[in-house]
Symmetry: C2
Subunit: 203 residues, 2 copies
Amino acid sequence: MKKAYLAALFLIATAIVIGPARHGFTEEASGTTLPRYTDDGKLVRPNNYRGWIYISSGLGMNYGPAAHDAPAFTNVFVAPPAYKHYLGTGQWPDKTMFVLEVYSASSHGSIVKQGQFQDKLEAVEAEVKDESRFPEKWAYFGFGLDGKTASKFPQDRCWSCHDQNAAVENSFVQFYPTLLQIARAKKTLKPSVHLVASDPSGQ
Amino acid sequence: MKKAYLAALFLIATAIVIGPARHGFTEEASGTTLPRYTDDGKLVRPNNYRGWIYISSGLGMNYGPAAHDAPAFTNVFVAPPAYKHYLGTGQWPDKTMFVLEVYSASSHGSIVKQGQFQDKLEAVEAEVKDESRFPEKWAYFGFGLDGKTASKFPQDRCWSCHDQNAAVENSFVQFYPTLLQIARAKKTLKPSVHLVASDPSGQ
C-alpha cells in the first residue's frame, strides 16, 4: 500500500514537473506554435517566430514580370513542432505555420565595401496549413509591418502559385537546401515540379 | 519522518525528471550549445546549429578590397542560452557560440525570374567567447564544408577586425537588426563603432 502511494506520488511529481518543463525553451521563445484566429477569422500574428526554426533566405526573388522595387531580403521560419515532424516524414503536419519576413537590403554603412545586409523590417507574412478551416488546406496572410492580425489573402494572390509550383505540398522546398535533402530522402517531392538548376536529378 | 521521506522522494523525482527535460527541444535540436574541444585544442563542430537561433543573413558582404569570388550568402546563428542572456542584458555570456554558414547564391531554376536564393553549403565557421581558454576572449574557427573539428584561426584573420569594428563586444550587431535594437535599449553598443547608414543615432 505504501509502495503504491509512493508510486502515485512519484507520478504526480513527474506530471507537475514535466507539464511546464517539457516544451521548455520552445514555448518560451516562440509563444504558441499553432495558428490562432480571432472570432472573425483573422490570423493572429505569432509573437516570437524569431525563436522558431530558420529555413533559408533569398534576395530580390521574383516569380513574375520584372519588379521595379528595390530588392529585399526574405527570411523564412517554421514553427518547431512542424519542423520536427518534417524531419521525420518529409511532410508538413496539419497546423504547420511558416513566417516570411521581408527586410530591406542595405549596402552602405559600417565597414562594408561590397555586398548587402539586412537593414529594416518591411513586412511579415504567414503561410498556414489548416485542413479543418480551409478547404484548400493552405492559406496566406500578410501582417504588413506591424499588424497584429491579418485576413486571408484571396486564393489567386499566393495560393495558386504555391499550389502549382512548390516542391513539397505548398512549400517552396526547392529554395530551402536543408529541407530539400529531407524531401529527397523521404521521396516527398512532387514529381511534376521543376527544381533548381543545380539539382542533381536534372529536373 | 514519513513526511520527510516523501518530500525527499518528491525532490528526487523532480531532479530525475527536470534533469533531461528542462532543456527539452533545445538540447534535442541543437546537441550541445557550449563549445567543446578535442584534447589538442580543436573546436568540435556543433552538430545541429540549424536548431539554434537565427540572427541575420547577408549576400556577398566584404570588408576589404573588392572580391572576385561569386557573391555568397552568409547566415548567422547563435546558441539559444547565449541568445536568452543577450536578450536580457545586451551582452554575450562566457561560452557564447555563433555559427556562420556560407551558401552559394543561385539565380537560375524553378520559377525564379529575378533575384537569388541559397543553393549549396560551402563552409561553416564559428565564433566562440571562452574567457578561460583564450586570453583575447574571442576566437574564430573554420570547418570548411565538412570538417568535424577546427583549429583556431590566427589572430589577424578574423579577431582583429571583429575586435576593432564590431558593435557589441566582438559581434557585428550593426548588421543584425533585431540584436541592434536590444543593444540600443541596453546601451551596450561600443561608442567608437561606426554603425550602418540608416542608424537613427547618426553614427
